[in-house]
């Protein structure tokens, strides 16, 4: 396919953005968030301030790359996100999905890869914002439950990792389980990126031939009452299978 939309500029730019992103994350995690920690003794306020700072960082990143025409994006129904006790579940086609969601819903907590709590660059940030590691399972479930019960908004990518292009979307049952344990409202967000880029198993420099466009569409709330009345493991299997159907139908996975 023909390389368009200033291919070489986009390639060099993408490399630069990765560098800046890592650097900013590190500076926020190891200088800004510790400072916030020093001046904010109250746990709750410290967490919200830290999330506000990280959210602003991610929002600026998205604005930066889209203002400079590296990407385009459309976020439909954003105002439906960020309610107290809301569990947001989203599919995960690309590396920067989280930047859209936490950038525009900065009060939210998020289940993140446990490895980010060990990685030197991301460690300070995820600890500062009190995000929740995805392992071990029982600690993740109980922490997610506590966050929702405390009225926080929580973001989960039920696939656990990015979708492997060309393979059907596979989800973990944790999201359905957490939803039924503690969510006041469950809201799906369908993400697609066209042409596909920054997906699993693809290095950053394999940029698409034309400028990629992200579309994030907030779906209707899922009625949890319909799943009550049976024991949790049975209910969570039903909800899980419905969620898998919803996301399988709403997202097309391409090579």
């Amino acid at each position: 396919m023909k390389r368009t939309d200033f291919y070489w500029l986009r390639l060099v730019g993408t490399g630069l953005w990765f560098l800046v992103f890592g650097l900013v994350t590190f500076v926020l995690g190891f200088m800004v968030l510790p400072l916030i920690r020093l001046v904010t003794p109250n746990r709750q306020r410290r967490m919200l301030r830290s999330r506000a700072v990280l959210g602003a960082g991610m929002r600026s990143f998205i604005h930066g790359v889209s203002d400079l025409r590296f990407i385009e994006y459309e976020f439909i129904g954003r105002e439906k996100l960020g309610r107290p006790g809301q569990l947001i579940v989203a599919n995960h086609p690309t590396l920067i999905d989280v930047c859209f969601l936490l950038g525009f819903v900065p009060t939210a907590s998020c289940i993140v890869k446990a490895g980010h709590f060990r990685n030197l660059i991301t460690r300070g940030a995820v600890i500062g914002a009190a995000y929740i590691p995805n392992a071990p399972t029982e600690e993740m479930i109980h922490a997610a439950e506590a966050a929702l019960q405390a009225g926080e908004t929580l973001l989960m990518f039920p696939e656990g990792t990015r979708t492997v292009p060309g393979r059907p979307l596979t989800m973990q049952r944790g999201a359905a389980n957490v939803a039924l344990r503690a969510a006041r409202v469950l809201t799906p967000v369908y993400i697609s990126c066209e042409p596909s880029t920054l997906s699993k198993n693809l290095p950053w420099y394999r940029i698409p031939p034309s400028r990629p466009k992200w579309t994030l569409r907030v779906g209707d709330d899922i009625d949890l009452a319909a799943y009550r009345g049976v024991p949790l493991p049975i209910a969570s299997r039903r909800l899980h299978s419905d969620l898998a159907g919803l996301f399988g139908g709403a997202t097309q996975v391409r090579d």
Binding site: P136, T137, E138, E139, I141, H142, Q172, R173, G174, N177, P231, L232, P233, I234, S236
Partner: protein, 82 residues
């Protein structure tokens, strides 16, 4: 203090109710992962459920080495107040 037999009956009832298992499959030797198809998320639900019944606060760490129904019974017995 409950006897081993009482604990076994409670665990068995819980497994049948929560996971719609057939009663004859729930034997002490049954392995959770292979025989009963109970994964790590189910295990969290099961432990939460049992800790409510036995009215004990438990740490998931106590259950890390549990592989079979018998292991679970032994662990619950050990956690009971003496």
């Amino acid at each position: 203090m409950k006897s081993r037999e009482e604990i076994f009956q409670t665990v068995r009832t819980a497994l049948i109710e929560l996971f719609e298992l057939e009663a004859p499959t729930v034997v002490p030797e049954a392995r959770f992962d292979d025989d009963l198809e109970i994964d790590s998320i189910d295990a969290v639900d099961l432990i939460d459920h049992l800790s409510r019944i036995f009215d004990r606060r438990v740490s998931p760490r106590d259950f890390r080495s549990v592989r079979t129904v018998q292991d679970l019974i032994d662990t619950i017995e050990r956690l009971q107040p003496q």
